[in-house]
């Protein structure tokens, strides 16, 4: 018993100093992305305010965990980084608090209001967009033969590009690409995908390459598979591919064709104490101002969500290369793009998910 008490006393001693400083827990995706936030947001914020920031790399299961925390009445997160679709779900369920862009966010340096600066990227009342990212393909330059792929349908062309490819283990994006390469016009894709026949058509197209597909579920999978040469091409987030190509110097190149744009940003969980809420809002105000968003682009190739940040995007902090040509929004890269359709997937996600999973198991 004596040992136990001593042990508890030791813990108290170890924990106590940390308790004096103010702390907040910020949830994000981990990897190179968290590192870019650490450099661009967390470190300057800690320096300015003295708040210690704890990172929890749990964004992948943010919705489920926030639900559980809410039920248990024990929300331990202060600010959460989620994709726009998750933010909409959390907002609808009342798990995220509403934030008024004009009063609670910083205006642009020239005085433009935040709501105008973010424009139509403010897709939900609870969501402050941070970056525009895209899901796109990378390919091994040394494994695709003499003619490098230039368009999305190369993914479905086993004759010209034999070998394994990696696709995400969910219907979103894959179904759109399949229809696009099965002769459906870009404007009609979601109309076709809304019908059961259209869904079958997309799955039938995916069937033609099913044996050559390695399915991924974490953003780090495709970079690893490409580096190993286990796949000749694969889809993932463009920032991950940037890291593979420019930082790791792997023989990989980007296939920007039909890249799908999506948004990622912050939410604040509902039901925080006033003190924590005030701190979270203060952090958001700081981290989403024009300069901070532009700073993040120094570390990772995601486009800042504010219009006023775009001209400030400079060079990579360590490599010293211009970041603009690596942004998914660069005109050269964005010749043929696809905008993730939030409303469509909000309505059809459950049905198509079930169908897709059944097809996968076949």
């Amino acid at each position: 018993m004596k040992t136990k008490l001593t042990a508890l006393a030791v813990t108290t001693a170890l924990v106590a100093p940390a308790a004096i400083a103010e702390e907040m827990t910020i949830v994000s995706w981990g990897g190179a992305y968290s590192k870019s936030q650490l450099k661009a947001y967390h470190e300057p914020y800690s320096e300015k305010t003295g708040v210690t920031i704890l990172n929890d790399d749990s964004s992948a299961e943010a919705v489920a965990k926030l639900r559980a925390m809410d039920e248990a009445g024990n929300v331990t997160w202060d600010v959460v980084d989620v994709v726009a679709a998750d933010a909409m779900r959390l907002c609808d369920e009342g798990l995220a608090m509403e934030i008024d862009a004009d009063t609670q966010l910083a205006a642009a340096p020239d005085g433009t209001s935040a709501s105008e600066d973010f424009g139509d990227l403010l897709v939900s009342e609870c969501f402050i967009p941070q970056i525009v990212y895209s899901t796109t393909f990378g390919y091994r330059t040394d494994l695709v033969g003499d003619t490098a792929p230039t368009e999305i349908c190369s993914v479905f062309d086993l004759d010209a590009y034999p070998g394994k490819r990696s696709l995400e283990k969910r219907p979103i994006n894959n179904m759109e690409w399949a229809l696009l390469c099965d002769g459906v016009a870009k404007d009609d894709v979601y109309d076709v995908l809304a019908t059961p026949e259209g869904q079958d058509q997309a799955l039938a197209k995916l069937d033609t390459i099913k044996d050559s597909v390695i399915w991924w579920s974490a953003g780090a999978d495709t970079p690893q598979l490409l580096a190993d040469g286990e796949v000749i091409m694969g889809s993932t987030y463009n920032g991950r591919l940037f890291s593979v190509i420019e930082e790791q110097k792997q023989p990989v190149a980007m296939l920007w064709d039909a890249q799908v744009f999506d948004l990622d940003g912050w939410i604040i969980p509902a039901g925080l104490s006033d003190e924590r809420k005030a701190r979270a809002l203060d952090y958001i105000m700081f981290a989403t101002d024009t300069q901070r968003l532009a700073d993040q682009a120094k570390y990772i190739s995601y486009g800042p969500a504010r219009k006023s940040s775009a001209p400030l995007v400079g060079q990579h902090a360590e490599l010293g290369i211009d970041m603009a040509p690596h942004m998914p929004t660069d005109p050269e890269n964005a010749k043929n793009t696809f905008l993730y359709n939030y409303e469509f997937w909000a309505d059809y996600r459950d049905d198509i998910d079930a169908k897709f999973q059944a097809w996968l198991a076949k």
């Binding site: 813990t11 940390a18 981990g30 929890d56 331990t76 997160w77 780090a220 690893q224 190993d228």
Partner: protein, 403 residues
């Protein structure tokens, strides 16, 4: 006994098919790597059989056969894979020579009893091959991460530079990352806080429970035992979900009513949850040692005037100590390796090493995880070796044989 078994040369009809099978197996690996399994098997078997026939029927000189094999395989390895190919070639060349003559000269019978039938001889070696294979399957996954942790690249890949043993293919940067990265250091510190405290609690409570349950007069012994062991049997994810809600309530009460610090409460929750998981291991090992414990010793101690506490610490505890220590080790490892419960019960400030490894593995496949794994394997080996040495020392001091 063994040396008395007479050995004799075996006919080609036995030797050639055996080495051809071995060659075929080797060919299978080489062939599969080049997507030509069948062809690989056939070529491997034919080449090896031809070489064996040449040695036995034409060359008839064991020393020369040995050097020819080694040089031939090493040369082939060099053309196929450079320096590492030569190393493999040297090994396989010697193995091939050894295996051929082992069969041909009948050396495989030299150490066996003379009256064994061929079937028994086959089983004798087959059994050893199976045991060896099991050992290889157990140990390879642990060994393979060790060289990868010295990778100069940020992927789980054996790069060409590594395979050619070039210095630039290796680096210590992942170890450097582990020791300089705040997240890793914080989680390592958390593991070192949580696991020992959870172990102390599990060992104290588990040992007391085991002693209590070994008394004959305790009612409902089996039912109590079953409940205590249940954290080990119930799927972890179910315990974890239950614990999440249970400890959330307790945590809210501790923070709200008692006004304790949020972080401190977080540590209490994780430590208690891990202690619960560790208790079954302590109960089981201590109960097992108590079976051999002679209860008349406690009565004798009482007779001499010792109170129960003195009896426990001076008489019973030293005798059941091996069980307590191994139970404690299991409890420690359970807490140190645990990821599911801490993901549910803990918050980011209680992030432990396995948690950090888990998210690291999912979000960014970084060889830092392998560096950590290598360090942990090293620590485990040291820990177990130390405990074993202490055990032997105490046995020696007590005059028992050093087992």
């Amino acid at each position: 006994m063994a040396a008395l078994t007479p050995i004799s040369r075996k006919p080609l009809s036995l030797v050639l098919p055996c080495i051809a099978a071995a060659g075929g197996l080797l060919g299978l690996f080489v062939g599969t790597a080049k997507d030509q399994s069948t062809l690989g098997v056939l070529i491997g078997a034919a080449l090896v059989a031809a070489l064996g026939f040449f040695y036995i029927a034409v060359l008839k000189n064991e020393q020369m056969a040995k050097w020819i094999s080694i040089v031939l395989f090493a040369g082939f390895g060099f053309f196929a894979g450079g320096i590492p190919g030569v190393v493999l070639g040297l090994i396989f060349g010697w193995l091939f020579y050894w295996f051929t003559y082992w069969l041909y000269e009948g050396r495989y019978r030299a150490r066996l009893l003379p009256y064994l039938t061929p079937g028994q001889v086959l089983w004798h070696y087959g059994f050893r091959v199976i045991c060896g294979a099991i050992f290889v399957f157990l140990i390879t996954p642990i060994l393979v991460v060790m060289p990868l942790s010295f990778n100069a690249e940020d992927f789980f890949t054996f790069t060409p530079e590594m395979l050619q043993f070039k210095a630039e293919g290796y680096s210590l940067k992942h170890y450097q990352d582990f020791f300089s990265n705040n997240e890793w250091q914080r989680s390592f510190k958390n593991s070192l806080i949580i696991a020992p405290i959870a172990t102390v609690i599990s060992v104290s409570l588990g040992t007391l429970a085991a002693i209590g349950l070994s008394q004959s007069h305790v009612p409902g012994k089996r039912a109590i035992m079953a409940i205590m062991i249940s954290p080990m049997i119930v799927p972890l994810i179910i315990s974890a979900t239950g614990m999440f809600f249970f400890y959330s309530q307790i945590g809210n009460w501790l923070e709200g009513t008692l006004g304790l610090d949020k972080n401190f409460v977080g540590y209490i929750k994780v430590v208690l949850a891990h202690a619960v998981l560790g208790i079954p291991f302590v109960i089981i090992t201590v109960t097992a040692t108590l079976v051999g414990f002679d209860h008349s010793l406690t009565r004798a101690a009482a007779n001499m005037g010792a109170n129960p506490v003195t009896t426990f610490f001076r008489v019973q505890m030293p005798l059941i100590l091996p069980g307590v220590i191994s139970g404690g080790l299991f409890a420690f490892i359970t807490s140190f390796d645990e990821v599911v419960v801490v993901l549910f019960v803990g918050s980011a400030s209680q992030k432990t090493l396995p948690w950090q490894m888990f998210t690291g593995l999912r979000e960014q496949i970084s060889p830092t995880i392998l560096a950590v794994a290598t360090i942990l394997v090293g620590i485990s080996i040291l820990l177990l070796a130390t405990v074993e040495m202490l055990r032997r020392r105490s046995e020696r001091l007590r005059g028992l044989s050093p087992g």
